[in-house]
Subunit: 201 residues, 4 copies
């Protein structure tokens, strides 16, 4: 494709990061709108709130997941110094996945034990992870990364991007069998895998 | 009209850009609220989700469209160095169109094959495009553009603004006949036209 | 009250402005959520959309009104150099009024010809205007304004703040008689009054 | 746990503050969505609006509460110079509580006199306060605070964090008995306690 010359970051790159941060912040805060106030007599409210537990669970899970994505995005863009229109589009496709998450969250709250929904949720998580990995390899191949980042670290981070995507792929499958297995992958296995690499730089 | 003297950009111009970026980010993230969780028995959920396909399609389409507008706005304001109150109002009228887009998106998801809705959606896209073209000619005529931008490029960008508005006008008409024809205009024809000009600077 | 010493602006004042801008941007973009997609057969959609005209009218009106408030806030804070906790609270009370506006907007869309609603809408506009005038006199009295702002201009701006509040007060009353009279005040009379003063600096 | 080395703030710390401010601004502005337009004949609208008084009360209360949290967060992060991943997670857990507040607000509006709801609301306020106190002690112990902040002031602020959490704990209990008692704690007692300490620095 070629396209126009890559541009030096500065002001423009900051605006891209700002836009991404705003989408993260809005998506994570919109999650609460999926929690509906029960319409029952006051004396049955306790039971009604207890029935909403899956919704609260989905809320907290997605909040932490989006927070995790935000931190990863953070770390990734800290190393980027140049950009082109392909990078902007990849970032938009990534944000499409982030901004979409309130929907699978609401779905998971409403149908917590339906395998199809668990799979849907898992695949929704897989999307930004995959785009993020593609984005990483793109910026590496095009030389958009900070020169201060040693090639060794770049390779490490590449491995981490693949490992993360793999965990999410396994997690989506596991979620189809049981949402608990999926959550175990995303919440326990994933940070563990990540931490192994984070230690390196 | 005359009005007060144009002011040098700096801090103030940044605040206008920040405000615009925030509106873009919020509008693009609010799109997801139009996706309603189906209320059916769990075993009929697969079919219910399949029925929602037009909503998902409208979601992705509008996400990419707003993303595209955001990039164009980006590129436009990168060249602006001075502003006055007319520019601020034009920008507000532009943002009115952007912030409105979640509504035609929801309409398109609910009535994907109704010609009236397709036209409505198309005209909703036409509005920010047209205001954007007016804004461009205004800043050019008033000399608000960066002095580094050669007159030749300014003319090129003016042509592009008109070409874009023309594609959207044709697209709105095409959408009235068939939503596919409209989408073809916005998604295939438009970036093609834009790329022709982008190459130049 | 006394309270803690006023602080020099810099970074902190910027964060207050950023927060205010974000509330403006969110409130103005949330307006669209009040527009509900009609649920009628496709062949009756045209009529249903036509019935929604008051909603579209309320949407555009409130969008322009919030935009106008945003610009005024802009202009006001451009001159502020110091702040204290009272200023932050006044600004929060002001933003409470801005963030509330989507509700009277929805009310106006649903009951466009009910005098009570028109009055409610008018009073909702009166709130931020009044707080804004109080805020202006507070910062003036405490000497929080830029030293570059000549005392003469400060007085002019004070007069404008009072004039604006007066127009809104009259507008709320006029809206009770007829929404058109109210809109005339806010959209025609107000910018006219403002422009008279803007010319001065 | 140890983990990676703490990093000097600068750009990254700013992005964390920006993200937090955005969540605050969105949560505070989303509150208005909980106010539903009554669907009654126009002549019964006055009575319907009067019935909504608890909702308006909950709206204003939560607006001021979130505003208060925002200011506290402000003040806290003004002194932070370094950060690590634990700080980011603590901040996320804090924001989870802030972003959640529109839900208990809606609940309080719908069931203003139900003790369970008042307790629920009180506990929702307790969460961010507690996390905030933990965060404060963490940054102090790790030496993330500005060196300009004298140890004496640090101790004062630590005491204030504990005092605030204690007031909220008492307030949650008081709210269970009567929402008015709870509100009295949060709105009257709390600022009083805070002011006592603020005077010191």
């Amino acid at each position: 494709m070629g396209g126009p010359e890559p541009k030096e970051g500065g002001r423009e790159l900051e605006r891209i990061i700002f836009f991404s941060d705003a989408v993260f912040a809005i998506a994570i805060t919109l999650l609460v709108l999926e929690l509906a106030v029960p319409e029952v007599p006051a004396d049955r409210l306790g039971a009604a709130l207890a029935e909403q537990l899956p919704h609260f669970f989905a809320y907290v899970l997605s909040f932490l997941v989006i927070g995790q994505y935000w931190m990863t995005h953070h770390r990734l863009f800290r190393h980027i110094r140049r950009y082109d229109i392909v990078l902007i589009w990849l970032n938009l496709l990534y944000l499409l996945g982030i901004a979409f998450l309130p929907y699978p969250t609401a779905l998971l709250g409403a149908y917590p034990t339906t395998p199809l929904v668990d799979l849907f949720y898992g695949l929704s998580l897989l999307w930004p992870t995959t785009v993020s990995a593609v984005l990483w390899f793109y910026v590496r191949r095009r030389g958009f990364l900070s020169d201060e980042l040693p090639p060794d670290t770049q390779r490490q981070l590449g491995k981490r991007a693949i490992a993360t995507a793999a965990v999410f792929l396994v997690g989506a499958g596991a979620a189809f069998l049981s949402i608990y297995a999926g959550v175990f992958c995303w919440v326990v296995v994933l940070p563990f895998v990540r931490m192994l690499v984070v230690r390196r730089f």
